[in-house]
């Protein structure tokens, strides 16, 4: 089936089998390997992408379901060589250890801050409760998202 998916602002066309998962479409057809495959069972969130702006687990979406829709992957965060505040937050606050969960964590954090510019720690922990960090580095992940929230506040 022919599909066209708007990935990070660019229309990407492909002829895919309906059973192709969105994560495989992104990694193998588009060769964008920033989106990871962790558990492959809808648990870990390593494969998180934004579908029409909302974080979803791309191992549990068929690529055909994204036909005509917007997908944002971790590669879409950086703009014109400048890191997004969420990326800078993870850098500044050491929000990653092995880095495997990081793309998903950043996209979930990015989406949270779009909807809630000043989240509480509880809001952040709630938002990332579908993203697992096997290094258990949650304290710094929370700090990283807080750093990004702070950085995005308009100057007083």
């Amino acid at each position: 089936m022919k599909i066209s998916v708007n990935v990070n602002g660019t229309a990407r066309e492909a002829d895919v089998e309906p059973r192709l998962l969105l994560v495989h479409f992104i990694r193998e057809d588009l060769n964008m390997t920033g989106t990871h495959i962790g558990c492959d069972t809808t648990s870990c969130g390593a494969c998180t992408v934004l579908l029409d702006g909302k974080p979803v687990k791309s191992c549990t979406v068929f690529a055909v379901m994204a036909n005509g829709r917007d997908v944002m992957t971790v590669e879409g965060l950086e703009k014109d060589g400048k890191l997004d505040p969420i990326q800078d937050g993870f850098h500044q606050e050491h929000g990653l250890q092995c880095g495997f969960c990081t793309p998903g964590m950043m996209l979930t954090g990015f989406s949270l801050l779009k909807n809630n510019a000043s989240p509480s720690e509880a809001d952040i922990r709630w938002a990332i409760s579908g993203n697992l960090c096997r290094c258990t580095g949650y304290v710094n992940i929370v700090k990283s998202i807080q750093h990004a929230a702070q950085a995005q506040k308009p100057a007083q």
Binding site: P18, R19, T48, P55, T60, F62, V64, M65, T108
Partner: protein, 290 residues
């Protein structure tokens, strides 16, 4: 993991979707949010030959009140229920339920209709809908019919939907004065199925219980309506003795299986404790608390 091959249709109207169901019969499966179906297909526990993706049908996602009912469109995402101020303020039991389904990412895809039509006894909405006395609207070639929630679940993963019908709407009677409800779930971690869950809904006249609904999650082969516990409450004062008696009866009515989440005794004990807590919360809300 790669699912088995299938043919795929994404109709833009309900009529087209129903025509496809008529054409493909039991070979066809409806795809809504896909958060239960796709994992099952990846594990090859399900291998439908034809997938009918209803996500492009425009008018199946809504939360509104009309004619004495709260109506929820089948394609309404759990995150939309979770985020609805109408639900939070007026139907806190439904907010309780949506907020503990899977995790926030899954809730961005998962639908209320799918949660019910999948008929997994571990799903959360069934218990709440049993407690609330909801109705299911099923639409087929001859139009729509309404199914009382008590007649909807017929076995594990099976419902009274016909092969050519689609669950299109859930209807919940608007709360009368003095009503309140709550849903409580014990899970090992966010995203796990319930070890046990209890939905409780009461209508009070002063401190007297006029009616009660109690639904149980994942403690039997089907979602359970604890009718003995419900009956025991009617006409009683809303006090500890009545609550404890109902909780004991609900535990007896549960039919859990031993698994990694716990033993039969442990799960029955959870049902007893959760029923008492959910009833206390429901009674508190019926009296105007939160």
């Amino acid at each position: 993991m790669i699912p088995a091959s299938f043919e795929y249709s994404s109709p833009s109207t309900l009529a087209e979707a129903i025509a496809l169901l008529q054409q493909h019969g039991s070979d066809a499966k409806i795809l809504a949010g896909g958060q239960s179906l796709i994992p099952l297909m990846k594990l090859r526990m399900a291998a439908p030959k034809h997938i009918i993706d209803i996500n492009r049908i425009g008018d199946l996602s809504y939360i509104r009140e009309s004619d004495g009912y709260l109506t929820i469109g089948a394609l309404t995402r759990e995150s939309d229920v979770d985020g609805s101020s109408l639900i939070r303020d007026k139907y806190p039991i439904i907010h309780d339920t949506a907020a503990v389904i899977a995790d926030p990412l899954v809730r961005n895809m998962a639908t209320v209709g799918g949660n019910l039509a999948h008929a997994d006894p571990a799903n959360d909405h069934p218990a709440t809908m049993l407690a609330l006395g909801a109705e299911i609207v099923a639409t087929g070639p001859g139009g729509s019919r309404t199914i009382a929630i008590g007649d909807f679940f017929t076995g594990i993963f099976t419902t009274s939907l016909h092969e050519d019908e689609i669950l299109t709407e859930i209807r919940i009677p608007a709360p009368v004065a003095g009503s309140g409800g709550a849903y409580l779930k014990v899970e090992r971690k966010v995203g796990d199925f319930a070890t046990a869950g209890v939905a409780a809904h009461v209508v009070l006249d002063g401190n007297k219980i006029k009616s009660a609904g109690i639904g149980l999650t994942n403690v039997g082969p089907m979602p359970i309506k604890a009718t003995g516990a419900e009956q025991s409450l009617i006409g009683k004062d809303a006090n500890d003795a009545a609550i404890d008696e109902a909780a004991k009866l609900a535990a007896e009515e549960s039919d859990p299986a031993e698994d990694l989440r716990g033993s039969i005794d442990y799960k029955r004990s959870l049902v007893r404790v959760l029923t008492a807590r959910a009833l206390r919360l429901a009674i508190g809300r019926a009296k105007g608390g939160h």
